[in-house]
Amino acid sequence: MDNFELICPAGTPAALRAAVDAGADAVYLGFRDETNARNFPGLNFTRQDVADAVDYAHARRVEVYIAINTYPQAGNLGPWQKAVDDAARLKVDAVIMADPGLLAYAAKHHPDLRLHLSVQASAANVEAIRLYRDAFGVRRVVLPRVLTVPEIAKLNAEIDIETEVFVFGGLCPMAEGRCSLSSYATGLSPNKQGVCSPANHVRYEQRGGALASTLGGFTINVFGEGEQAGYPTLCKGRFVATGAGEGSGPAYLFEEPTSLNAMDLLPELKAAGVRALKIEGRQRGKAYIAAVVRAYREALETFAAGRPVPHIDLQAMVEGGTQTTGAYTRAWR
């Protein structure tokens, strides 16, 4: 049985080495600008960093993918096209993209460059995926985190390109590439500027023993003393619904602070025909990368050997102190 491929994040060269050494099959990363969806201060790779990363990874038979997965600004295609040209020049193994115009550019100018469809394209049905395959030669689609495992199985039965799914890390509860919550509060979004809830719009305040997080001046959550905290994104904010009954306090509306962990679903994902498993977290430290990649490598080796997947404790790494299998098993859908 072919094992899953394990696709791991890296926000810095040290994180890339940690991922490679811990057992990644491929590492995905981004350039140091708005062309990718983790455009955070102090993060990401210069062109030289990418060249070094490719050398390091290829010497150890690990692949490197570059995410160029934001949508170019109208009238300013330059940085995005240059990112594609540089990715090809630097001999990365695949580029992960969402914008149809950019996919067309890559397919035309770099026919040998392997194209993966980013989760940011939110292609969740057979017709959309076939369109990307036929029009641009996309070879793999990263599925949005809105599908159940049976839906993934059904999809895989009808398409002939590889699928990659997220198995661990931060969650976008909305359809990726379509969420504008961050834009409402800050004017900036992951889809165009590459960052949801940009740090320069985030402030934390201690209110007695409580921790308040604000985004663009709006208080979006208050964590009580001892309560585990989460990222300052609106999708995981607490709100008071208009018309809610007397005395009903703020509550989570969309999603609670939680992290995806689908390690228990390896048999189901295999049966559903999934080719590659992806770990989220280019913004996380190298200690997270090393721990999570090592845990998943161990789980995959055990699974491939036909033994039951062990329970590996990753609780210390998760947002809000809770883990979920997300939409994969979500009963209410």
């Binding site: 072919d2 094992n3 491929e5 926000g11 810095t12 060269p13 040290a14 994180a15 080495r17 490679v20 050494d21 057992g23 990644a24 099959d25 955070f40 201060p41 102090g42 993060l43 150890r60 038979r61 690990v62 940009p198 740090a199 320069n200 985030v202 402030r203 934390y204 305040e205 201690q206 921790l211 964590f223 001892g226 309560e227 585990q228 905290a229 989460g230 990222y231 602070p257 913004q283 996380r284 430290g285 190298k286 200690a287 997270y288 721990a291 080796e301 210390a316 790494m317 998760v318 947002e319 809000g320 102190g321």
Partner: protein, 243 residues
């Protein structure tokens, strides 16, 4: 597909037995306590002498980690206060072209009390990171993930979040730093003692621990009080009163 036999040839797998791990853990705790006590001595040296020592440490770190330090110099001029809640001293780091590091004494209520500014002669910090000394050291050395610490509420940050993120990401992008060894190497004779100390600290501490378990409880508590004082956690300066 990755061939499982082709792992990093430079990295020999290290296997630790649970006992060895616990021993290493204790040695690390000892080292952390030692370095915290060293930091606690800074104010007694006087401002000028401690500035000279910290400038030397910074130069040494810049030589060992040129990529990160170049990035720190390229940042806009700003000050970050790194405030261990269980040590008598905080560190004020200025990033940007005038990169520098200063020790700032924490008053009974903490230098900034977790808020931005309020540093007296040290000026105003644009951002503050607070947490237990051991956690801050782990974070600076890249041994632990900052987001995880933040989720678990072991770390509080205030002020310019982007500045803290930039600093964290820049330092985390380095290979693991060894701040304790680097700090020891600017402190003269300690540099020669540290490797020996490290090799022996685990087993020696294990023996002390075993002996301590045999002591009558009042004596044991007395020893713990002395240790706490040595490590700089003086009564009345606990994390709670510093908040």
């Amino acid at each position: 597909m990755r061939d499982p036999d082709v792992r990093d040839p430079d990295v020999a797998p290290t296997v630790f037995t649970p006992d060895a791990l616990a021993s290493r853990e204790r040695a690390r705790r000892f080292e952390t306590g030692l370095s915290r006590a060293g930091l606690g001595l800074m104010p007694r040296l006087g401002r000028r002498a401690s500035d000279v020592l910290l400038a030397r440490l910074l130069r040494l770190l810049a030589d060992r980690h040129p990529r990160a330090f170049e990035a720190l110099r390229e940042m806009a001029d700003a000050r970050v206060l790194i405030e261990p809640v269980d040590a008598p001293v905080a560190l004020l780091m200025r990033v940007g072209p005038d990169l520098s590091l200063h020790a700032v004494p924490r008053g009974a209520n903490g230098v900034g009390g977790g808020a931005v500014g309020g540093l007296g002669e040290a000026g105003v910090a644009d951002a503050v990171v607070r947490g237990p000394y051991a956690r801050l050291l782990d974070l600076l050395e890249g041994r632990i993930d900052g987001d995880a610490l933040f989720f678990r509420r072991e770390l509080t940050i205030s002020g310019d979040t982007a500045l803290i993120l930039a600093l964290r990401n820049t330092l985390d992008g380095e290979e693991e730093m060894d701040l304790v060894a680097d700090a020891a190497s600017i402190a003269g004779p300690l540099a020669r003692v540290l490797p020996v100390l490290r090799r022996n600290a685990g087993p020696v501490l294990d023996r002390i621990e075993a002996a301590r378990r045999l002591l009558p409880p009042p004596l044991r508590r007395g020893i713990e009080r002395v240790e706490a004082r040595l490590a700089g956690v003086l009564p009345g300066n606990s994390p709670e009163t510093g908040a």
